[in-house]
Assembly symmetry: none
Homo-oligomer: 221 residues x 4
């Protein structure tokens, strides 16, 4: 059946079945994502998702058990791509680095975009809650670990509650991106970065880190 494809001299190999299915599945995911974000989860119907993806209603149900499962798939899918390479907080100018980090990280959170869709759902879907909680936990521990390292080196305030700090950062990161997407003003990243640095580093350390980009590395020796 698909043997013929092999004989095609290489020009336009028909997309193999599996891949086409993947395509359709992705189209549905995309479509679902877009609609969830723009109209909200409850306001989006399976029919619409299918229509926007250019397939029939029934096709939706070939790929997903139901709307909820599409959302879950969406989350897993996106969460995969969510984990940022979390570099040292203390190499280079922390404000700049944080701003960058925010931009990347927050952008992802935002592209995931579902954060506006999720709150209500969490109320009625404990499983969903779990998935999200565990994703957040992963992010949390990355940030936490980074802070801890800095803390151990005596770079941070010495009376810092790392846990509270961590989720404060997450919260600000997530919402900064939201702001930026709405306003288009990317300077927000800088501003928030500065605020967070104030939360983390005593002023003199911060100054050192900013002027002497190798300060921290030198410290290690």
């Amino acid at each position: 059946m698909s043997d013929r494809e092999d004989q095609l001299v290489g020009d336009f190999p028909l997309v193999p079945k599996q891949e086409r299915a993947q395509q359709k599945r992705n189209a549905l995911l995309e479509s679902g994502h877009a609609l969830f974000i723009s109209k909200g989860y409850e306001q989006t119907t399976a029919k619409e998702i299918a229509a926007k993806a250019g397939v029939a209603t029934g096709t939706f149900y070939r790929y997903f058990l139901d709307k909820r499962q599409l959302l879950m798939a969406l989350l897993e899918d996106k969460i995969e791509k969510l984990m940022p390479p979390e570099p040292s907080w203390v190499i280079g100018n922390p404000e700049t680095r944080l701003a960058e980090l925010f931009e990347v990280h927050g952008n992802r959170l935002q592209r995931l975009g579902l954060h506006r869709v999720l709150p209500e759902l969490i109320l009625k879907d404990p499983e969903l809650s779990k998935v999200i909680a565990s994703a957040k936990l992963k992010i949390h521990s990355r940030i936490y670990a980074g802070l801890q390292k800095a803390s151990e080196k005596g770079l941070t305030w010495n009376d810092l509650d790392l846990n509270t700090l961590t989720w404060s950062i997450m919260l600000l990161a997530e919402n900064t991106t939201g702001k930026v997407l709405e306003s288009g003003d990317t300077e927000e990243y800088q501003k928030t970065a500065k605020i967070i640095c104030r939360m983390v580093f005593p002023p003199e350390v911060l100054k050192k880190l900013q002027t002497d980009e190798n300060y921290e590395e030198n410290l290690e020796n």
Copy 2:
């Protein structure tokens, strides 16, 4: 029809028509509030709200246009009571004061409780968006004004972006209360207050404010 009651020479209902209606309306508001918070807006039916309020389904529609309007009323209602007396940020130990403020303020935000319900709704209801935005704006300007005063007195970092700072504070306040309600650990307020102070005040000012409770007042003179 029930006018007759009024003519009853004193035998009967002390509660005047209007007041009884008010009671019913309030019962519906309460009931709606509770259900929205515990199950989510979409998951709550008009019938349920009425039942929990102890009235018939139809009665719901005598007091509210529809479910959505009840939500709006709820917001206006709650927002009224939401505005905290926002005293000077700089009298007394700021951390303590902030912690107190958080507790009061955040508690209100929380009691309003709808923040978990709103995100999705905002997507489909621009009017709702406006109501909420304006409420947030009010809170924002209070905080902002307070910060500005402090800033003018030279108590804060001099490169502070007041706007960003303000919404960071709001964000943290709102979510801290959420945390506390979940965990029951009221120390969170303290911790977050400390973090926010770091964002606002340079360490030396902070110390001054904490040791010399009249520092700021003296400054004024």
Copy 3:
């Protein structure tokens, strides 16, 4: 509210709420019954049942959980009325009596009418199975008891298997009515009655019973 009705001098008492609900419920039952019989259970939709009963689709679901439950209700309802007063088999001409019995009994089974609808359903609905089985059992034991009495008086064949006989009778009764309803020929009752008498009574007893209507009573003394 319905107090007013009491004051009506007797002319046109409004049907009380409860009764009206009963009416509607009954309309649905009737409608369901008719449709199940004429088109089969699976071929009948809830919408149709509602439409035929002159109510909206949603109303159907106020009174019944679903189509299946309507069927169950139908069964219980009808089965109630199904139990025939099963008089002695041996007073009067047995053939005549049986013919009468068939007519009444079979007619009921038939009016119940669901026997053509049930077989397939039984395959997928164990609970339904139970309801029906227990109804059949009740009928079975009535017939059985009658036969036993006759048997004890030595009126029947002495090597009779009462159980097999009983269900044979039920089978024939049920199907005779079916035949009659299709053909309109009520003589079938007579014919089947005669056949059954052959199954039950030895010829000489039968003759006695037919000629001497008091034969059996005399026997007792």
Copy 4:
């Protein structure tokens, strides 16, 4: 299907196209039969039938117009094999013979097995009705003919309604097998046979037939 491999003596599939098609068709028939019996007609999907037969959904529709037509084919197919060689009712002990007959005949009816599936379908499918009615008619006339012969020889009750009797016998036969299949108790055949003999033969003839196995043949001379 995978037979081909075995036969690949080198050149080609020995199994001619037609035969392979036949095989597939049969597989589908079997599969449909099994599923109809175990889950009911409406509860069985074309997809399932195909799957159980080991072919694709689409293939189903190459062999059958639709599910209904498969059922029809099934009936014709099975009915072919349904007609029992109906020997004289009056050679040998009638009870024994009948019991045997029941076992064979009823077994077939049962193996056909669709009797639990058909009732509802008949309601919506007049054509199906016809097919079945005609099949039953064939069986009916065989039994009828046998009874008539016996009747002509004066072996039966002289006031017998042969028609009613015939369908009574069919009814009992069909259901006895049902009982036996459920209970496993093959004695039921005997019991029902005895009952039917009571319906057909006067006691003295029956006795004769049972003691003198040649009684009837002698009669002929």
